[in-house]
């Protein structure tokens, strides 16, 4: 007893799962950021295939149209995923700032070193190669 919405739901869940795994395989997505999507795809797949489970969840939540549970789950995971990306983005912003600060400082130290190893007039010390 399958209706079109169930077939579509299964197809979408499987596609999502395959897409995520393939992205990881091709190293376009690192493992640590793939987990939230894999769990999302598995949850959707479980609810799409197990019609009884879906009905039970819908009943428990007081949702009259069970497939709406799928949307709820999807929205939840999309929300969690974007929030975690904002966290990652913020962390990377801090890392980039720190990197740029240290690059600027190192650049100054390198300049100092080059200056102090330059020959003074009359000395025979070999000049370091300018970078």
């Amino acid at each position: 007893m399958t209706d079109p919405v169930q077939i579509v739901a299964i197809a979408v869940s499987v596609s999502l799962l395959v897409l995520v795994l393939d992205l990881v395989r091709r190293k376009k997505l690192t493992e640590e950021y793939s987990f939230v999507w894999i769990i999302c795809a598995l949850a959707l797949l479980g609810l799409s295939v197990g019609r009884k489970l879906l009905d039970a969840v819908a009943l428990a939540l007081g949702i009259y149209y069970p497939p709406a549970v799928l949307l709820l789950v999807l929205i939840f995971f999309v929300f969690v995923a974007s929030l975690s990306f904002s966290v990652v983005l913020s962390r990377q912003r801090q890392q980039i700032e720190r990197l740029m600060e240290d690059v600027a400082i190192l650049d100054a130290h390198v300049r100092d070193l080059n200056k102090s190893s330059e020959p003074t007039p009359g000395s025979t010390r070999r000049r370091t190669r300018p970078t």
């Binding site: 980039i96 700032e97 740029m100 600060e101 240290d102 690059v103 600027a104 400082i105 650049d107 100054a108």
Partner: protein
């Protein structure tokens, strides 16, 4: 300079200040002959870097624009690494007369405060009430309540940092337009801050990087920070 005198570094964060920097540096040299000068060029797109190279000062150049807070943080870390005891932060636009700095450094040199801020408004009477001034006044009142110390000029760019402040801020100086957050952060970490009244000028040349849009963003961020910073735990000054 006598042996044992604290080493003072004047830190000038600069974004596109090629026109005003030479005058600012010349004035600092006249009024503070013992201090070294460090310009932190925050990825300027004008001739700032070329100008700085000609000035015979120490300089850092951020590879790209990262914002005022990070530029100052880089300068403070550089100051710590190269053995300075006191850092004076001065704007690159010439609005801070160098002659004021001695008076501003005094509480820090005496050990009466870790940080000293040059305020335009400590005892202001009959000032024009512009929108900007009103916002600054309100912010000052809020910070005064939150930090339990007098804050009259919450966005001043003229600061003196003593040794304890340097150790703390080399890694924790706030990013972005940092001043109000910095005041809260210092209070949260129990450093003593004092305000000294100074008379500032308007900028010598060039334009402020504070556009209305950036000011709006900074204000929104600030409203959030007013709530968040007091909730953050204080950080140890020694962690790296």
């Amino acid at each position: 300079m006598k042996a044992g005198d604290p080493r003072v570094l004047v830190l000038i964060p600069a974004f596109n200040e090629a026109d005003s920097l030479p005058a600012v540096v010349a004035e600092l040299r006249d009024d503070l002959p013992d201090a070294d000068i460090l310009v932190v060029d925050d990825g300027s797109t004008d001739a700032t870097n070329l100008v700085v190279r000609e000035l015979n000062v120490e300089w850092l150049r951020m590879p790209m624009q990262v914002g005022l807070g990070a530029a100052v943080r880089a300068g403070l870390r550089y100051a710590c690494q190269t053995g300075y005891d006191i850092v004076v932060r001065v704007d690159g636009d010439g609005q801070h007369p160098a002659a004021l700095i001695d008076r501003l450094m005094d509480p820090v040199l005496r050990g009466a405060a870790d940080v000293s801020i040059g305020s335009r408004y400590v005892s202001e009477i009959g000032a024009r009430l512009t929108v900007r001034r009103t916002a600054q006044y309100l912010l000052g009142r809020i910070l005064t309540v939150l930090t339990r110390q007098q804050v009259t000029d919450p966005t001043s760019g003229l600061w003196v940092f003593g040794p304890r402040a340097l150790q703390l801020l080399r890694n924790h100086h706030p990013s972005g337009y940092p001043e109000p957050e910095l005041i809260m952060f210092l209070s949260r970490n129990r450093l003593t801050v004092t305000e000294v009244q100074v008379r500032m000028r308007s900028r010598l040349a060039g334009r402020s990087s504070l556009t209305p849009r950036r000011m709006g963003a900074a204000l929104a961020r600030l409203v959030l920070l007013l709530v968040i910073v007091p909730l953050r735990s204080s950080v140890g000054a020694k962690d790296d």
